[in-house]
Structures are given as C-alpha cells and as structure tokens.
C-alpha cells in the first residue's frame, strides 16, 4: 500500500502533482530555470517515468541531476546524450507537437486558455511590463498538454480576460486538435489550492481536485472566472513518503524549489542562504 507523507509543504505537493503529469515515455521541455518544474521532471524521471526524455538549454535527453541554484545548465549539458540548437529543438519537438509537457507560469490566465506574460494595463503603455512569453505563446498550443503552475492562486492571476493575450491554447477540444495535426490533451493548472482543467472550448474550467484542507469555496473566492464544480471533488493525491524523501535528499537538498514561494522581501536572504550552502559544498565558503 502506498505510504503517503505526513509532512510536506505546498511546494512539495505542487511539485509532486506536476511530476504525476509526466507519463513514461513523455518528451518534456524545460524552458526558463524554474526550480519547482525542474524538480518535478527529475523526480518523475527517477521514479515512474524512466523512459521520459528531458530537454533543457541545449541539452537533449540528459541524465537526471541534483538541483542547485546555479548549476542546472551545466548539469543538464554534462549529462546530455546530445546537444541541439533552438532551431533543432523546434524542428524535432515543438513544431511537430512531439512535446508532452512544458509547464508554464503566467502573470495572468483566463477562462479561455489565454495567458499574459506581456503587460498589465495598456499594451503599448503598460503599468507593468512583463518579461514576454519566449516560446510559450506557441508551445502551449503545440505540446500535448498545456500545464500551468501558479504558486499564488488569486483573482490577480485568474482573471476573466487577460489584458494582453501573449499566447493561447487555441486548439482545445480533442477533435480540433487532431484535425490541426496535434495530439489531444487538457489544459491543466496546478496551483497552491487546487488543480483545475479544461478540455472543451465551450465548457468552463473544472475543479479536478482540492488540496488537503482547501474547499471549493476557497477556490471560487480566489478565481476571477466561472468554474465548473463537480459534486464530488477528490482531494489532490498527497505526496508519498518516498517522493518527499527523494525531493529533500536527492533532487533538491538545497531547497531551491521553495524559492518561488517566499515573499518578495525574503527572497534575497533565502537565496544567499542557498548560495552559502553551495559554496560550502565545494569548499569555497
């Protein structure tokens, strides 16, 4: 019988939930260095999805490695089976719809499957200029699943309509995806409260599961658009004891995953703590 962990953080719950999205044999693309997502994929690779293929930076099919704040790129490259340019990635994975998962985050997300990484306010004269979407506007359509993760589920993020549509799933239903040459798959958002998903264009996002201790009302109150609320909503599956142990001891002993969950003003201090540990590990502290 599966032994679930008694003690885990929200970050760990989200990380494990994302890891469970990975099926064995999946092709997974890692974009920007986002510790939580990296930890998820590596956890999946060393547990239930050993035949999954990871791509990050120029590294293709790399060996799972221990996370640190500064070493993800070198680790991926030193363990890679081969190296590709971005164009080779596109030609082999993205354009072909061969990617299964590339989790994204976003400043805003709405009920239509749109994301906004561009601007809050007017596009040309924004209140907040975001970083831009990199490949996200395109790959959220191309990859089999569109997976988002949001450490702070709120009405600031989940809005009725994004200010700017940086990108959109565009093809949502299975039929239209197949017709357009892509594999069917859901939009699924993993947040600090819940997992919500959408698989049909004309149906709202549905609450798939609630994290332990969270109610449907909590989710509704923090979401700026209509949700479908099934009668019996399961609890989000907890991390197993093994998953939590692997995360803490093997995958992320420096605790990089927690970084995204620290309030802005605590981040610098937390980062310095991690870096100090990294220096100690190489005898340069």
């Amino acid at each position: 019988m599966t032994q679930y962990a008694q003690d885990y953080s929200v970050a760990e719950l989200m990380c494990v939930t994302l890891a469970r999205e990975i099926e064995d044999g999946d092709v997974i693309v890692l974009g920007s260095f986002t510790p939580l997502a990296y930890a998820s994929y590596i956890l999946a690779k060393i547990t239930h999805a050993p035949n999954s293929t990871l791509l990050a930076y120029a590294a293709v099919d790399f060996r799972p490695f221990q996370l640190s704040f500064v070493r993800a790129e070198s680790s991926a490259i030193r363990g890679a089976a081969l190296m590709w340019t971005m164009l080779e990635d596109l030609n082999s994975v993205h354009l072909k719809g061969r990617g299964d998962v590339e989790a994204i985050s976003s400043i805003q997300a709405d009920q239509y499957g749109n994301i906004n990484l561009s601007a809050i306010g007017d596009y040309e004269k924004p209140k907040l200029r975001g970083p831009g979407g990199a490949g996200a506007p395109e790959v959220i359509k191309m990859h089999r699943k569109m997976i988002g993760y949001f450490p702070n589920h709120s009405k600031m993020t989940f809005v009725p309509k994004v200010d700017v549509i940086t990108g959109t799933r565009y093809l949502i239903g299975a039929e239209e995806r197949i017709k357009a040459g892509y594999r069917p798959g859901p939009i699924r958002y993993i947040t600090n409260l819940t997992v919500i998903s959408k698989e049909e264009k004309d149906r709202p996002f549905k609450i798939e599961s609630l994290h332990p201790g969270v109610t449907a009302d909590n989710v509704v109150d923090n979401t700026g658009f209509e949700l479908e609320i099934p009668k019996d909503i399961p609890e989000t599956e907890k991390p197993t004891a093994k998953q939590v142990r692997l995360l803490r001891e093997e995958v992320d002993p420096y605790g990089t995953m927690a970084f995204d969950f620290k309030p802005g003003k605590e981040r610098l201090g937390y980062l310095n703590e991690i870096l100090q540990k990294e220096l100690e590990a190489i005898g340069y502290a």
Binding site: Y57, F65, I77, I165, T166
Partner: protein, 298 residues
C-alpha cells in the same frame, strides 16, 4: 598554404558595428550572452542600435540602461530568478522605448528565414495571440497552396550584425560551442556581419581534434576575439556558471537610473581585464568554474 587571420580585439568591434545597426545578440536566459562585447559597446560611442534577442537578460537590460538602444526586438527579457529586468521595465513603462515583442518561435523562424534567403517561412503559428495583431509586419496569415490550411507566415529577419560568445575558435573563424547554443547559429547565418568572442583561441589542429563541437565555419565569421570569462556575469556552460553574487549587485545597481550610472562607472567604464579583477579575479573565476564542474547525477 597560409590563411588570413580573423583575429581581432574588443576595440575593433567598432569597425563592424555602426551607429544605427540592427544587432542580434546571442545567448539565452542567463547563459552565454556576449557580455564582453556588450560592455565594449557601452565603453565605445556606438549608439542608436536596434537589438534583437530571443531570450535576453542582463545583455539587453544593460544596453538599455546605458542608453544604447533606440529600439528592441524581443520575445523574452528577464533576470530569471532575480526578478524582472529593471532597465527594460523602466524604458518601456516610463520612457517609451520603441519595441517589437515577437513570439519566440517567430523570432527563431524569422532568423532562419533570413539565413536561408527566403522572405518568410510558414508554421502552425500563434493564432489568437495579440502579438500577431499588434505587429502585423512580422506575421501574415497564409493558405497552404496544397492543402488550403491556414498557416502563419513569419517574416524573415536579417540583422546587420550578430554578436555571440562561444567556447573556442581558431584564427580562421571555426567556432566551437560546448554549451547552450540557443539561437546563436541561426543569428550567425542570418546576419550580414558576425563577431564571435570566445573563451580561448586555439590552433586549427585543436579544432580538427573535436570537429563535432564546431558549430560555425570560418566563412560565416568576420571577427573572432579572445575574451576569457567573456560571458560574465552570465554562464558559459559547461565551463562556468552564472555569477549570482555579481547579478545581485547588478540588480541593486539597476534599481534606479542614478545607481545604475554608478554601476556602469564602477564596472564597465574600464578595460575588460580590470572588470574581471573588479568582479573578483581568478578566485571568483575558480568558484564559478568549480561550481560548473561539481554536478551530481541521480
């Protein structure tokens, strides 16, 4: 049989990069940006540049903060875990820097089109994105002449100059990249002129020993410059990691125009080898290289 040399010094870049040029800048995220060349642009009087980046960070932010850009084409500019890019935000939110925000694949495919001499390339592109609507000069809807399917045509991008940082090269311009090549090769193919800074200049014999690492042939390079630690404070993986301590200093500096001017004066407006001493010299280089080697597989 003697061949010409393409070796140059940082100070020679002004013979290639001219005021008003469109410059594609290699590297991606916090990796492999040609920072020594970026600093040299700021040291020199080259100005009114249009920068092109796919996934930019401190390279773009620094050029903006130093007032060297009159326009920016980008799909992503961020200091990653360190936060949004301060000068980039200020310039767009407050100072009206003109920009073209283009989806990532459209920039890469646009560079590819530029490199292969075709005015556009089609793909199953970002239908429904506002960026397509806002910048129609980069996107057109097109029908497949065989199937009738609606596709998006990405316009060709042809930079005047591409600047990248790589692992090593010989004097003929054969360039090896061991780390994250990003869109560097596509930028080199698309641009009219190309400058490559490298960690080390080696003999042609050394290039031939590991020819599989060579990603760019000499005939696609106009100048190679030896610039050790030339990507700092970015990484040049798997040789050294990015320098989080210096990037934190940069973020403090970039927090206001006044403090940014101090940052530039303290770190950039001096010869490149003095910059390398200012950021910690050989000890800091050793730390960054050691971190890049100390990886643990699971």
């Amino acid at each position: 049989m003697t061949t010409d040399s393409k070796l140059g010094k940082l100070g020679d870049i002004k013979n290639i990069i001219k005021d008003g040029d469109t410059v594609a800048i290699g590297g991606s995220w916090l990796g492999s940006h040609p920072m020594a060349i970026i600093r040299e642009i700021i040291r020199s009087d080259i100005k009114n540049l249009t920068a092109i980046t796919v996934v930019g960070s401190i390279d773009i932010d620094m050029l903006i903060g130093a007032g060297r850009l009159s326009k920016l084409m980008f799909s992503f500019v961020s200091m990653e875990a360190f936060g949004l890019a301060p000068n980039f935000r200020r310039a767009i939110e407050k100072e009206g820097l003109p920009y073209d925000e283009i989806t990532g694949l459209a920039v890469i495919i646009g560079l590819e089109a530029g490199g292969r001499n075709v005015p556009f390339l089609p793909y199953r592109g970002p239908f429904g994105s506002d960026l397509v609507k806002y910048r129609p000069e980069f996107y057109k809807e097109i029908k497949c002449p065989f199937t009738g399917e609606d596709l998006i045509a990405a316009a060709a991008i042809v930079p005047d100059v591409a600047i990248i940082h790589a692992t090593r090269a010989d004097k003929t311009g054969s360039v090896q990249i061991e780390g994250t090549s990003g869109s560097d090769v596509e930028m080199i193919r698309a641009a009219k002129k190309r400058i490559v800074s490298v960690e080390e200049i080696v003999s042609t014999e050394d290039i031939l020993k590991n020819r599989e690492k060579t990603k760019i042939p000499g005939f696609q390079v106009d100048m190679v410059i030896e610039a050790p630690l030339g990507a700092h404070p970015c990484s040049c993986a798997p040789d050294y990691v990015f320098d989080p301590w210096h990037i934190m200093k940069y973020m403090q500096g970039a927090s206001s125009p006044e403090t940014f001017k101090q940052y530039i004066d303290e770190y950039v407006m001096k010869p490149e080898f003095e910059y390398l001493e200012a950021i910690g010299g050989i000890r800091q280089a050793s730390v960054l290289k050691r971190l890049a080697r100390e990886v643990k597989f699971l």
